[in-house]
């Protein structure tokens, strides 16, 4: 079966490093970055099947980043993560991303894996 490539974007480095390792243990190829700029730069050189983005990132929201990433990688799928600090976050996320692609922190790894596989297949 083809390896699924996942890009994780969150400004909490300790989170993405560990999440990437857990996805690797489950057979995914995963890479991580902590800034929007690094995520966009990464897409210029590499191809990913799915991007997992924090909804609140410095300088740019996860949703704004998604729009820029889509321009570089139109086929890529997106999953959002959030600490759900406010109802507004949740509404913004659900309105554009759709509830199934929206995961609340702390992340349930089984749920994340299922979502990634469903989206790619």
């Amino acid at each position: 079966m083809k390896t699924i490539h996942v890009l994780l974007v969150d400004d909490e480095e300790d989170l993405v490093v560990t999440l990437a390792e857990r996805l690797e243990l489950r057979g995914f190829h995963s890479e991580w970055v902590t800034t929007c700029e690094a995520a966009l730069e990464m897409l210029k050189h590499k191809r990913f099947d799915v991007a997992v983005l924090d909804i609140k990132l410095p300088r740019m929201s996860g949703l704004a980043l998604k729009r820029k990433m889509e321009a570089l990688a139109p086929d890529m799928k997106f999953i959002f993560m959030t600490g759900h600090g406010s109802e507004k976050d949740f509404e913004e996320g659900t309105a554009e991303a759709g509830v199934p692609n929206y995961l609340l922190k702390p992340i349930d790894i089984k749920l994340l894996v299922n979502r990634i596989v469903e989206m790619v297949s």
Partner: protein, 232 residues
């Protein structure tokens, strides 16, 4: 004074909500990191059960990472507790530089989201004032929000307290675009209310690209003194 206090209370509640939401977000982040580290420990244990060698140093590192997040969480909760209790301290003596550091610590996530670094440049000597800590926190935050819109390319703002016989000045510097046009809405209605309650005064220094806030050594109007001062 009652009308003024009512107005400040409504705005204060909004400010309290904003800070609480930010703090809860930060707590979610530390929980998420602990969740992933604990999850990875489980993953490694499962692999060990299947015969894969368990790397002891890796387990130790993950334990340390969890401890780090516990310390971070404890720090956030201590700040949250102190912040909450500023509401029930109508008047309190504060050391200005230390209080500014505390304000920055509570709002670190919000300033980081704007990619702005704010630092306190304190004088050597302690600078004690008797003030309304919650309203001072609200006012400094409003000024920081204004500052983050006008910050220069360095993305750095500086808070510099200075002693004066009758009180303390706090200079907020690091602007690049502080013009009469940019500052025309400052102080706004909300700032005015807080300035009155704090018996403070705000000045703009366009030449030095800075804001100067004066706070009296002691609030003279004791009508809001009260006696509540929880310390738990």
């Amino acid at each position: 004074m009652d009308a003024l206090l009512n107005r400040a209370s409504v705005e204060g509640l909004r400010f309290f909500g904003r800070m609480s939401a930010s703090i809860s977000h930060e707590l979610k982040n530390t929980l998420s990191i602990m969740n992933e580290n604990a999850g990875l420990l489980e993953d490694l244990a499962l692999l060990a059960e299947q015969g894969k060698t368990l790397d002891a140093s890796r387990v130790k590192d993950l334990g340390s990472a969890i401890k780090r997040q516990i310390r971070r969480t404890d720090h956030i909760i201590r700040n949250m507790n102190r912040f909450s209790h500023t509401v029930d301290q109508p008047l309190a003596e504060v050391e200005v530089a230390e209080f500014l550091e505390f304000i920055l610590d509570v709002s670190r996530r919000l300033t980081a989201a704007q990619v702005v670094t704010v630092t306190v440049h304190a004088e050597g000597q302690p600078l004690m004032i008797v003030t309304r800590p919650f309203f001072l926190h609200s006012l400094v935050w409003l000024l920081l929000e204004f500052g983050m819109e006008q910050v220069g390319k360095s993305g750095t703002l500086i808070l510099k307290p200075r002693k004066e016989a009758s009180g303390a000045w706090i200079r907020l510097a690091g602007f690049e675009r502080l013009t009469p046009e940019a500052g025309r809405n400052l102080p706004g209605k909300q700032d005015e209310t807080l300035l009155t309650l704090l018996e403070a005064q705000l000045e703009m220094d366009f030449e030095q690209q800075a804001l100067d806030l004066f706070l009296p050594k002691k609030i003279h109007d004791a009508s809001l003194r009260g006696s509540a001062s929880a310390t738990s």
